[in-house]
């Protein structure tokens, strides 16, 4: 009696559909937790890297040196990536045109591209979390409804409608809902947390891009004035 009501026993004895639903939910939970851990690490590292880079950038270092120090395009992330993209474009355009306006436009464009790549990188798989958060309760509910249907079918066949005939079915059905909630709740919480962290980080990148742009602008103005004089 007690064995038959334990959770593993119930899962093993559940009907096929409910077992399938449970499998989906376990997978969803597993994947969402993988995403949660991975994203947390990524964002934490991105924050730290941004802090380091900003320290270096505002330490008064020469921009050319900084550009040489930073690793190549594919390896860099965050503000460093934006800086590299912008500075490279600046260096390439500088010999070709004398018009500061077109240089700045080109720099801005390349930085915007780098920024959107960063955005994509930071928000990777967060949509999956959102999907799990919103869909898994429904999936669990489907399993529950299916299980309760089974319980009523068994009830119709039984001579006496006792609790014992219905209880295992309902218990097994409710396990599906519990699993759905088990998958959904962390997904909701971490989706909100991670997406807010990433958007905050992206805002910082944007600020940095603007600041860098103004520095380049100032530089161009000074150069144009000195050459004109």
């Amino acid at each position: 009696m007690n064995d038959s009501m334990s959770i593993p026993y119930l899962i093993m004895n559940a009907s096929g559909v409910v077992q399938f639903v449970m499998l989906i939910l376990i997978l969803a939970s597993l994947l969402s937790w993988i995403v949660i851990f991975q994203r947390s690490f990524v964002i934490r590292r991105a924050k730290r890297a941004h802090q380091d880079f900003e320290e270096r950038f505002w330490s008064g270092i020469d921009l050319n040196e900084l550009y040489k120090e930073t690793p190549s395009e594919q390896e860099t992330v965050g503000a460093e990536h934006i800086f590299r993209a912008g500075f490279r474009e600046f260096n390439r355009l500088l010999p070709k045109t004398r018009n500061p306006q077109s240089i700045l436009e080109g720099v801005q464009r390349s930085m915007r591209v780098a920024w959107s790549r960063e955005e994509e990188r930071l928000n990777l798989h967060l949509v999956f979390l959102a999907t799990v958060a919103s869909a898994s309760p429904y999936i669990g509910l489907f399993g529950t409804v299916w299980g309760i249907m089974g319980s009523f079918q068994s009830l119709s066949m039984a001579q006496q409608a006792t609790l014992a005939t219905v209880a295992p079915w309902i218990a097994e059905a409710l396990i599906a809902t519990a699993m759905g909630l088990f998958a959904a709740i962390p997904a909701v919480i971490f989706y909100n947390r991670l997406s807010s962290a990433s958007s905050k980080l992206l805002g910082k990148y944007e600020d940095f891009a603007e600041e860098f742009h103004s520095i380049l602008h100032r530089n161009l103005q000074g150069r144009g004035n000195s050459e004109g004089a």
């Binding site: 007690n2 334990s6 991975q38 690490f41």
Partner: protein, 368 residues
């Protein structure tokens, strides 16, 4: 700058996620046995409790007894299934082993067959032993149940006896109380009757006294009237005699004078009757009068009465106030209570006209 640090792989997160889920599952598995072990004890306790609770009802107890035998039947079945599982277990354990080593298969199969045989025998013996154990337990339980039932029946009988004694005592008490109540009722009735009798006696005495007084008053009045009439008759007789003498002396003139005298006499008679009527009215009113206790005998109230010719009262006004409103009111009330004065009809018409309105003077001193 360590570049590989910046790329976060999926290995570590996957391990962490799997570890988390395994942890959750283990926690749920661990918490379950402890939670399920308690209910088994609780269920046993519940079973005994149910039996003691429902023994008051005979039908329920029978049902319970049958349920108990059912549960005792179920147990060996469970043990049998356990035994079967025990049989299966060695089989399951042994099946993968021969697949591993093909060289030792024959020998191992032999040994495993032997082991299986032994295991089966052991399991069978175990099952048999368990069955015996279960039977013994069932017998013990049955005995215990029988003993419990016996004790219960005794308790029930005792309770019944006690209840009967209680009922008997209650009935006696009830009877006694009823008797006491009847006694009290009778006493009360008696007392009431006595009071009523005393009351009736008093009323009768009062009535009698009043009647006597009235009779006395009537007699006095009659006497007075008779005396007056006698006096009148005497006077008339004298007058007659004088008239006769005068008649004898003088002729028709005398007769005219006599007629005049007659009229005068009639008028006087009416006057007297009127006086007596006035006295009568006054007496009636005084009889009906409840003199206020605070009024002293000196207070006097003059009341004007207006009557119909039939003697019914039209109006009674206090003309001269005594000074005490309650005294005046009591006089007026007494007049109203004493009305109507039917003697008015007996009066001659002249006197009647006079008594359509007349005044009466009342003072407590005259009544007492």
């Amino acid at each position: 700058m360590a570049r590989h640090d910046k790329r976060v792989g999926y290995g570590l997160p996957t391990m962490l996620a799997v570890g988390l889920h395994v942890l959750v599952i283990i926690i749920s598995m661990i918490s379950l046995p402890s939670s399920t072990s308690d209910p088994t004890e609780a269920s046993v306790v519940q079973a005994t409790l149910v039996r003691t609770e429902t023994t008051t009802d005979q039908a329920l107890r029978n049902e319970d007894a049958s349920g108990g035998t059912e549960s005792s039947d179920e147990e060996p079945e469970e043990q049998q299934t356990q035994a079967e599982e025990a049989e299966q277990e060695p089989a399951e354990e042994n099946t993968p082993e021969p697949a591993d080593n093909t060289e030792q298969q024959a020998a191992e199969r032999e040994t495993t067959a032997q082991e299986r045989e032994e295991a089966r025998q052991a399991a069978l013996a175990e099952a048999e032993r368990r069955q015996q154990e279960a039977e013994r337990l069932a017998q013990q339980r049955e005995e215990e149940q029988r003993r419990l039932e016996e004790a219960e029946r005794q308790r029930e009988e005792e309770q019944q006896r006690r209840e009967e004694a209680e009922a008997e005592r209650r009935r006696q008490e009830e009877e006694q109380r009823r008797q006491e109540e009847a006694e009290a009722e009778r006493q009360r009735q008696e007392e009431q009757r006595r009071q009523e009798e005393a009351e009736a006696e008093r009323q009768r005495q009062e009535e009698e006294q009043r009647r006597q007084e009235e009779a006395e008053a009537e007699r006095q009045r009659q006497e007075e009237q008779r005396r007056r009439e006698e006096a009148e008759a005497e006077r008339q007789r004298q007058e007659d005699a004088a008239q006769r003498a005068a008649e004898a002396a003088s002729g028709s003139l005398d007769r005219a004078i006599a007629g005049e005298q007659d009229a005068i006499a009639q008028a006087r008679q009416a006057d007297e009757a009127a006086n007596s009527f006035q006295n009568l009215v006054k007496r009636y009113v005084e009889q009906a009068w409840n003199v206020p206790p605070e009024a002293d005998s000196g207070t006097v109230a003059l009341v004007r009465l207006r009557l119909l010719p039939t003697g019914e009262l039209v109006e009674a006004n206090v003309i001269q106030r005594s000074g005490s409103d309650s005294f005046d009111r009591s006089v007026v009330r007494a007049v109203e209570r004493a009305a109507p004065f039917r003697e008015m009809q007996d009066l001659p018409p002249g006197a009647q006209r006079r008594f359509r309105e007349f005044n009466l003077r009342f003072s407590p001193g005259e009544v007492r």
